[in-house]
């Protein structure tokens, strides 16, 4: 009997330890009881925006009844939306004026003054009339090509081919007449570096052709014949420029010629002066929480920014404050 006491003591002690361990293990692993992340990498400071810079407010959200929005364009009070495999024309009162199934999945859109619509279909272009009927089709591009952006300037149609890292020039009959890769020989600027499927071009109100060079965080102005005229290059982890791999993703112009740029990674939309300084923020990244894709942007006649939010499947309208 005497010799049993230490044994019982040890057993009781162990039992106590076992129970304590199980209870502490249970409680310490409940959500919210775990320690903070020792490897925290705080990118929030790059996300946060000085409220004074936000000079736009989100006024409306237009929910789309399609699954996969693909591209947006705007001309004369009408929104052209490519979603799923159809093309829609939406009036300024948000009534649908046209809805038509396209022969494929569009990747980008542009609308001419006369109402004709040019849709990039991955490896070729399609010209549609204002009712969405196909008028002409370009030849299918050889090799790996994906037209991610298209714009009309004068008699030419410019299409950005991201995998090809080139800009294709078509005439109005959709015949390929030229292409250029951006290597202009001006200073040490490299040709188009397109590290992912985002390569965008647009024409500003002064009829200048601007093309992104996302690999070096630049917006470049080209002559219609494809010679580099000028460029803006801003690399920065902060709001001051574009950061990381391949920004800006989309851009467009305000009526007075300022840039509206849309970035991925830390998703945000901001307005940049023609000189390259960030002027204001249209939408900080918290408005795109959980999102993964940079929204496509267009500007309407009133100077509001319309952002096609791919993740939320809606058009979001930002008005200047």
């Amino acid at each position: 009997m005497k010799r049993k006491w230490p044994v019982i003591l040890i057993v009781l002690l162990s039992a106590a330890v076992i129970i304590t361990v199980i209870v502490t293990e249970h409680t310490s692993t409940l959500p919210g009881r775990r320690p903070p992340n020792p490897f925290a990498y705080d990118v929030d400071e790059f996300r946060s925006v000085d409220p004074g810079m936000i000079r736009w407010k989100e006024a409306r959200q237009v929910e789309l009844d399609t699954h996969t929005p693909r591209a947006i364009a705007y001309t004369d009070g009408k929104i052209y939306l490519a979603a799923d495999n159809e093309l829609q024309m939406i009036g300024s009162d948000w009534s649908r004026m046209m809805r038509r199934i396209l022969p494929g999945a569009p990747t980008c859109l542009a609308v001419a003054q006369d109402g004709r619509i040019i849709a990039g279909m991955g490896n070729h272009l399609v010209l549609l009339n204002s009712d969405g009927e196909t008028i002409a089709e370009s030849e299918t591009l050889a090799g790996e090509s994906n037209i991610t952006s298209v714009a009309i300037l004068g008699d030419n149609i410019y299409a950005a081919d991201a995998p090809g890292r080139r800009v294709l020039v078509f005439n109005r009959e959709l015949e390929l007449i030229d292409e250029f890769r951006g290597d202009s020989g001006v200073s040490e600027i490299h040709g188009f570096i397109v590290p992912d499927a985002h390569f965008s071009l647009a024409v500003n109100p002064e009829n200048e052709l601007w093309i992104t060079n996302p690999g070096i965080h630049a917006l470049q102005n080209y002559t219609p014949s494809g010679r580099l005229r000028s460029y803006i290059q801003r690399t920065s982890f902060t709001l001051e420029g574009f950061s990381g791999c391949c920004n800006p993703v989309h851009f467009t112009f305000l009526p007075d010629g300022r840039f509206v740029t849309s970035e991925k990674g830390i998703i945000r939309i901001k307005v940049m002066r023609e000189s390259g300084e960030t002027e204001s923020v249209v939408a900080p990244s918290e408005l795109f929480a959980g999102g993964t894709r940079a929204p496509a942007v267009v500007v309407d006649n009133d100077g509001n920014v319309l952002a096609l939010d791919f993740d939320r499947n809606m058009i979001r309208i930002f008005e200047p404050i």
């Binding site: 490897f39 407010k57 009844d65 948000w94 009534s95 649908r96």
Partner: protein
């Protein structure tokens, strides 16, 4: 080696192994604590060094320091990893030896076989004890479960019942869905197939309907069975593109057209595209469908509907509202400032519908052929009936408040049959009903005296009602920004939430007598009969500005985009920018008195003056 030696060896090796175990365990524990307290990878020293470098990017010395520290830290980290792994192996090894030695030791000293000393009787008592403890154990378990019940409350129900769901974004973002002309609710509507008994089964008020009228119906009766799909009624999109009722789509004072003319002059003819004399005077306003514009006119002898080509001003046809069963032989007495033609017509592209002060209501097709006509009973109205019509789908809505009773009817636009007819708590009124899209479904909002109420358009059921009006109720309600706005002289200006039927704010500084309020882009505008145009914040009712016009307002203001159009009775149209500041963009004179509300089309404004109908455009 005898058994004593074996025991000795086993004992010694157990002791050594045990001590070894303890040492290794302590070392491991130490290592563990060290790793816990100072994770070299998350070191503050490193952080400060890097921060310093950010300030002085060129400091080579600092860089060198960082590199050294980094190397050290990583070395330490991987060394401690190695230590843990090796320590664990050693511990395991030592533990195996310890256990083995102990087993041998005990098996050696326990070789002596001892007889069992337990008493036989133990069994019964131990069984009793077991039972007790099994019961006790069960009791403890249940006690723990019950205790747990009381220590934990279920907040989910509280959340679901009490808390309003915390909205993550506090900003007010308007949600829009794209309206689609293809998804008309009326498509699935059962086609009205009038059977011979139908007119007889109507309520007493319409009993007088003459069977002779039946021949007037053929276009409809033929149409319905012949084409089972029936005429499809315009959806919201199409209605928006037209000006189907007074004050535009839904009678709401908001139009959706672009490129509207900004400047004109009636005297010099600047931007007056055409101007035609009004064939028959009335105070009704023009309505537009496609390229047709409709007007009504009335006097004691005749009541007529006119159709114009809105592009050229050519009179396409006119139709008389005569030979209507139940129509009074002598028209009721009215005052000159109302007359028998005060209500405006409405159209849906299939027909045009007009009502007159006699209680006659007539439906014509787009070519002027009569579809049906009936008399709703002569209104008992000391000024004259003036509520305008509005239709949606197959329903035509008539606000018919007179001195006798408050009443609202819905008629079938194809047959004129009553769909529903409700009495309401209202005195005589002169306001017109509007349609408001509340949470995706339309309701009819009608202002009376004293109530402002919303009605289910399908059944006429009153959805909500607010008693806020007084006096002689003339202005119609307006809807926008989620609120119904109702204002009347001698009463109040009230913003009503139609979802709850509550007054959100009230104000009575500026009140209209004739012209209806209008909502646009967050503001409400009121045009008064004392020549003041006032603007308020639609959310709060805060008065933002007022503008003193040349003359008083009878014509209702209309919002198009970010412009406000309002015309005084001298014929001056003021165009404001909708906003918190009075920003008069331009003032245009027509040179003729205007009591009606203009109609808008793409790039065009149509104004009915006292004598002429004007088309204004660039």
């Amino acid at each position: 080696m005898n058994i004593g030696d074996k025991i000795k060896i086993a004992k010694q090796s157990a002791t050594v192994a045990g001590a070894f175990c303890i040492v290794i365990s302590l070392l491991l524990l130490l290592n563990f604590l060290q790793m816990q307290s100072a994770d070299p990878l998350d070191s503050e020293v490193m952080e400060t060094l890097v921060q310093r470098l950010a300030l002085e990017p060129g400091n080579e010395q600092l860089k060198k320091e960082i590199r050294q520290f980094d190397l050290l830290a990583r070395k330490a980290y991987f060394t401690s990893l190695w230590q843990v792994r090796t320590g664990g192996m050693l511990l395991l090894f030592a533990a195996i030896i310890l256990v083995g030695a102990l087993r041998i030791y005990y098996s050696l000293i326990d070789k002596i076989e001892k007889p069992d000393k337990e008493e036989e009787t133990n069994d019964i008592t131990s069984r009793a004890l077991s039972r007790r403890w099994i019961l006790a154990g069960t009791g403890i378990l249940i006690a723990i479960a019950l205790l747990a019940t009381f220590t934990v409350s279920d907040p989910l129900e509280r959340y679901l019942s009490d808390l309003p769901p915390p909205t993550e974004s506090g900003d007010h973002v308007e949600r829009i869905t794209i309206t689609d002309p293809d998804t008309r609710p009326t498509d699935t509507r059962p086609t009205p197939a009038p059977s011979p008994e139908d007119p007889e089964t109507e309520e007493p008020g319409t009993k007088e309907e003459d069977p002779e009228e039946a021949p007037a119906d053929p276009p409809v009766t033929d149409l319905a069975p012949a084409t089972p799909t029936a005429p499809s009624f315009p959806g919201a999109t199409t209605i928006r593109q037209n000006h189907n009722a007074i004050r535009g789509p839904w009678s709401n004072g908001v139009v959706f057209h672009e490129n509207l003319p900004m400047e004109w002059d009636g005297e010099s003819g600047t931007n007056i595209l055409w101007k035609v004399p009004v064939p028959l005077h009335a105070f009704s306003s023009p309505v537009i469908w496609g390229d047709r514009l409709f007007l009504t006119g009335a006097d004691d002898r005749e009541r007529k509907v006119f159709c114009f080509n809105r592009h050229s001003g050519e009179l396409l046809w006119e139709a008389s509202a005569d030979n209507i069963p139940g129509s009074p032989a002598t028209p009721p007495r009215t005052t000159p400032d109302t007359g028998l033609g005060a209500p405006s017509a409405t159209t849906d592209g299939i027909g045009v519908y007009a009502i007159f002060g006699t209680g006659d209501i007539i439906a014509l097709d787009m070519e002027g052929n009569r579809l049906w006509a009936r008399n709703l009973g002569v209104p008992d109205n000391h000024y004259g009936h003036s509520s305008s019509l509005i239709s949606y789908g197959e329903k035509l809505f008539v606000q018919y408040d007179d001195l006798d009773q408050g009443r609202i009817l819905s008629l079938n636009v194809l047959t004129g049959e009553t769909i529903w007819d409700i009495k309401r708590e209202s005195n005589v009124s002169w306001a017109s009903p509007i349609l408001a899209n509340v949470n995706g479904s339309y309701q009819l909002v009608a202002k009376g005296n004293p109530i402002v109420a919303g009605y289910d358009i399908e059944t006429g059921r009153e959805l909500w009602s607010v008693s806020a009006m007084a006096g002689e109720v003339g202005p119609s309600p307006a809807f926008g920004g989620g609120f119904v706005f109702a204002a009347n002289e001698y009463a109040t200006m009230a913003a009503i939430n139609p979802e709850t039927g509550t007054v959100v704010w009230e104000d009575n500084f500026y009140l209209p007598e004739v012209a209806s309020p209008v909502y646009g882009n967050g503001y409400v505008f009121i045009a008064t009969t004392y020549a003041v145009l006032a603007c308020m914040d639609a959310k709060t009712g805060e008065q933002l500005w007022e503008y003193d016009a040349d003359d008083i307002f009878y014509s209702s203001p209309v919002v198009a985009g970010n412009r406000l159009y309002v015309t005084d009775i001298s014929g001056n149209t003021y165009i404001f920018e909708t906003g918190g500041e009075p920003n008069l963009l331009v003032k245009n004179s027509l040179g003729e008195e205007v009591y009606t509300t203009p109609a808008f089309a793409d790039g065009r404004i149509y104004i009915r003056g006292e004598d002429y109908l004007y088309c204004i455009g660039n």
